[in-house]
Symmetry: C2
């Protein structure tokens, strides 16, 4: 792939590294995730991301317009799988809403805590207020609405007044995202146990009586 003159054919790489089999785009995202969560977003340069992924900065710019673009995509990846699941669960009226809300909570916690890097830790960056992150805020808001719909469909949720329902939705959503902080304090805890316990806690917040 590379000649002794340093000129390469195919995808240019800044240095040789074992081929991970991942698509270039994903390699860049993974490198960005690692650097953003360990060195910090502000302290990370696009050059460092490209080098860590074993490619030149110019190649990176072929896939991403810059650091914000990488961060926005990483943040959206922490929400879109849960949003897809939420829509599927909302459509599946054959099961009780309690069981569906429980499943959404469990799965969401597994997604937030199960990745190699604690991407949820990036939610609070001041940079995430910017316009490039409108897409992330939209999917996150859509996910919260889906939580609210499932909550309203539970027996306990249906009995609540509208304002109180909105408040409980926020609390459930806060709990789910709050596990980011708890997880960070104890990253070795098995995610599955913790995810189920969080889903139980979410139903308790709604007012459901657990078996």
């Amino acid at each position: 792939m590379s000649t002794t003159t340093g000129r390469r054919v195919g995808r240019p790489r800044a240095k040789q590294r074992p081929d991970s089999g991942m698509a270039t785009r994903d390699e860049l995202l993974l490198a960005a995730a690692e650097l953003f969560t360990t060195h910090g977003y502000a302290a990370t340069t696009t050059r460092a991301v490209a080098e860590s992924a074993g490619m030149r900065q110019a190649t990176m710019y072929h896939y991403f317009s810059g650091k914000e673009d990488l961060l926005a995509e990483l943040l959206e990846s922490t929400v879109t799988p849960s949003l897809t699941l939420a829509h599927r669960l909302l459509a599946d009226e054959s099961r009780p809403a309690e069981a569906r809300l429980w499943e959404l909570c469990r799965s969401d916690v597994e997604l937030l805590c199960g990745g190699q890097h604690n991407l949820g830790a990036l939610y609070l960056l001041p940079e995430v207020q910017g316009e490039r992150f409108a897409g992330f805020h939209r999917v996150r808001s859509d996910l919260k609405s889906a939580y609210g719909e499932l909550l309203s469909a539970t027996e306990a949720g249906a009995e609540l007044e509208k304002d109180e329902r909105a408040l409980r939705t926020d609390l459930v959503f806060g709990l789910i995202e709050g596990v980011i902080l708890v997880h960070r304090g104890d990253p070795d805890r098995p995610v599955t146990t913790f995810a189920s316990a969080t889903a139980d806690a979410a139903l308790r917040i709604v007012g459901c009586v657990l078996a």
Copy 2:
């Protein structure tokens, strides 16, 4: 206070600004809080903090050894008042543990969300893993232990097995800190309503039956 040659007597100030009546140390902390939460920690220089507080960088170094020192002190200020309250509540056995846990939760949420700046948003900075922040992690861990003690003293908490009690403590603590994220999404919501609702939710997570 200042002469036309630019030399000043008394506390040196980089530029004139109305005297806020605050102690120099507090002025620096407030300036740091504003810059860290709006511009970001990594993007803020000690020079910017000093200038925003209306003084010279050299003066700042008389009070703080650097940026980490400012951040550590700000973070500890989000925990120590709750820890003091927790110790007082733990000692006051004249009241049911449920009421004391509720009060700790409510007060903690008001502290986290009530300040002028959302300092809780700084918890997730990768920089906060460093050694200078051992003090913050210690008081935060002490506060979690106090939550655990109050939780164990409730009727519902006393019935739980040890592991389950530790898990519920983590979930309650996660909920309280998770409100940082919820609050950020809706900073205009009245903190008092939200704080009470969060305290209710915490008791529900423990398994208490609310009136």
